[in-house]
Subunit: 266 residues, 3 copies
């Protein structure tokens, strides 16, 4: 991919400052808010049924993350998602722990059936489960996929009609036809709770200012992964890594991204 495109998207996030409405889990909600700000966007977290349709109307993108889902929260996701669909606001779904319990798997299918999802951003195990080609999930951790990761992601994109953004050692982003491999990132990101959720927030910020959700998703993962690479320099463990990760994301320039992104179209 031409580095000017991701750089242009990062610039656009910073100048347009899109509002990113999150309905998300209670574990990583603070990091998601701060990562959205560091990317250049304005986060808002709201999940009361009474207000989500109002709130999402002002948003540039909506993030639905089922990390600590409840029946009440899922109803709010449906209300917000339907309104977002009516208004043409892109919806990013993070199917946290799909495959770990029936409730999570069924909820993801329900959201995919009821809503037009722009980007389905999950780990390999979750995407394998949703593709129906075999994936393993323990708690909220990926146990990997049965077959080829790229074909798994493509099959999931075909089945769901979404852009699939599958994180891992190499991230795979595909709209079934095109496949982008993103090689930015470091293993330390897997030893910190919530990096997957944070990646969804960065993705939403990029998708909010882009026409092409696949290119935006790959660009977002490159930006977030690059911040992770830079963060390792001053990290002694997971919390100093987190501090450096968010700091580096905030100071990452479009030029850095253009120069150091490693996105390959395959």
């Amino acid at each position: 991919m031409d580095g000017a495109i991701p750089a242009g998207l990062l610039s656009a996030v910073r100048s347009e400052r899109p509002l990113i409405h999150h309905i998300t889990n209670s574990v990583t909600i603070n990091d998601c808010a701060n990562v959205a700000i560091a990317t250049g966007a304005a986060p808002v977290m709201a999940e009361a049924a009474e207000e989500v349709a109002d709130m999402v109307a002002a948003a540039g993108a909506l993030v639905l993350n089922i990390g600590t889902l409840s029946a009440v929260q899922v109803e709010a996701m449906l209300i917000a998602g339907r309104r977002a669909n009516e208004l043409g606001i892109p919806v990013i779904l993070d199917p946290v722990g799909a495959g770990a319990t029936t409730f999570r798997t069924e909820t993801v299918h329900r959201l995919l059936d009821a809503l037009d999802i722009a980007v389905l951003k999950g780990n390999a195990g979750e995407i394998g489960v949703l593709a129906g080609t075999g994936g393993s999930v323990r708690g909220v951790d990926s146990g990997g996929v049965t077959g080829d990761p790229v074909e798994t992601a493509r099959e999931c994109a075909r089945l769901t009609g979404t852009v699939v953004s599958m994180t891992g050692a190499v991230d795979v982003v595909t709209d079934e036809k095109r496949v982008f491999l993103v090689r930015n990132g470091v293993p330390a990101m897997e030893r910190l709770s919530g990096t997957g959720c944070m990646a969804s927030s960065v993705t939403a910020a990029f998708v909010a200012v882009a026409d092409d959700p696949a290119v935006a998703s790959a660009s977002a993962l490159a930006a977030f992964g690059l911040a992770g690479e830079r963060a390792t320099a001053c990290a002694r463990g997971p919390y100093s890594f987190r501090t450096a990760l968010v700091d580096e994301l905030a100071v990452l320039t479009p030029e850095d991204l253009s120069r150091e992104m490693r996105i390959e179209e395959r």
Copy 2:
């Protein structure tokens, strides 16, 4: 304002260690707890209808923050607030996102109608909306006020019968008659999620040990802003700034506050 008064209030927080009961949002709840401790108070977060009347009875102040409100949570706020009023325990209301959705705006009016609020602590957009003189709010961010900030705050204080503590580049605290301008603080505080919520926790700690909620609110904002000023020295981005902010608040002395506070009575 005489620097000895804010210094004396900070000393009083540290010696009396008031319990600050929070009913607050899930985004910044951890930072609020830690900031309350760093100020010198003892935080407790409790929002079950079954226990809030019990819990608030032991508190020195009650914080109501609608950042991620729900109908159930608002009922708990009313129960706790009524009990606090009966017992003469001051209530600090943070109207997060008032103006962004009808549900938030109506909830704030409902709380203001039902309860005797000691301090209404919001950003400029929220206070402008509640004053009825014009304010703009997007998500949870202030878009500013239509007219003069000081007159907006005074009008809001007049209408609501509360002390209004309006944060911004210059904070305005007023009980309609007196106006305090607080010039401590740094722009980095606006690029970190939750500094507004944290300011409410610091305010509650000061109000809990004071007779005059306007003076206590201005002193609290000066103390928190001063911690922010000192934090910039070792901050590379938003998360190292947060670390330094809470660290600096914990080591801030009454002498520091007396010497470096910038509160002007107008």
Copy 3:
């Protein structure tokens, strides 16, 4: 205690990577997830009644923490706890704020009556209240016990039939017959919100891989306390201490633990 045993348990956590299912409070949930990872375990937070029985079936231990309890959450705790009991999965109960409100105290008794709890991990005030021998709790902070701390913990273990793990300047772990005193730890841990909750997560990770919950609990407190001791070197205040605490826990080796643990069997 022979240092080889705690070291062996830490090694076992790192090689087995047990899933630790938490039903916990919204204040410290993120720190608990990250501390579980730093210890070597895999955390999952899930509290929907629809899924907790499914989720706990894959877990090595279940943590029930009532820090921000609600009636709905307590029902989920009962469902998850009963399933854990059926499957022989150890349950760790953290009775946060027992004694501060009737709702908290009654909920703890309800959980103790309905479930087979492996370890009851609380502060001195909470354990004193539950022992019925006198304890004082304000908000979620211990006000200490009336009588002898060791006898209080033993009485609580006798009454409840659990291993009692009572944190304080010196931690007391007892199954009524044996008493372990753990002298690792530093006062800075008391000035950071959530260290008690984090200690429960570390405890769960150790208990998940052990046969003896008393030895595992004492070992866990030694490991966590030791990380705290090492963290003080680079801490300027509560947030830099937290960063260092989690970093140090992640790099703590079994050899460190074997050499520097201070557990005395009395």
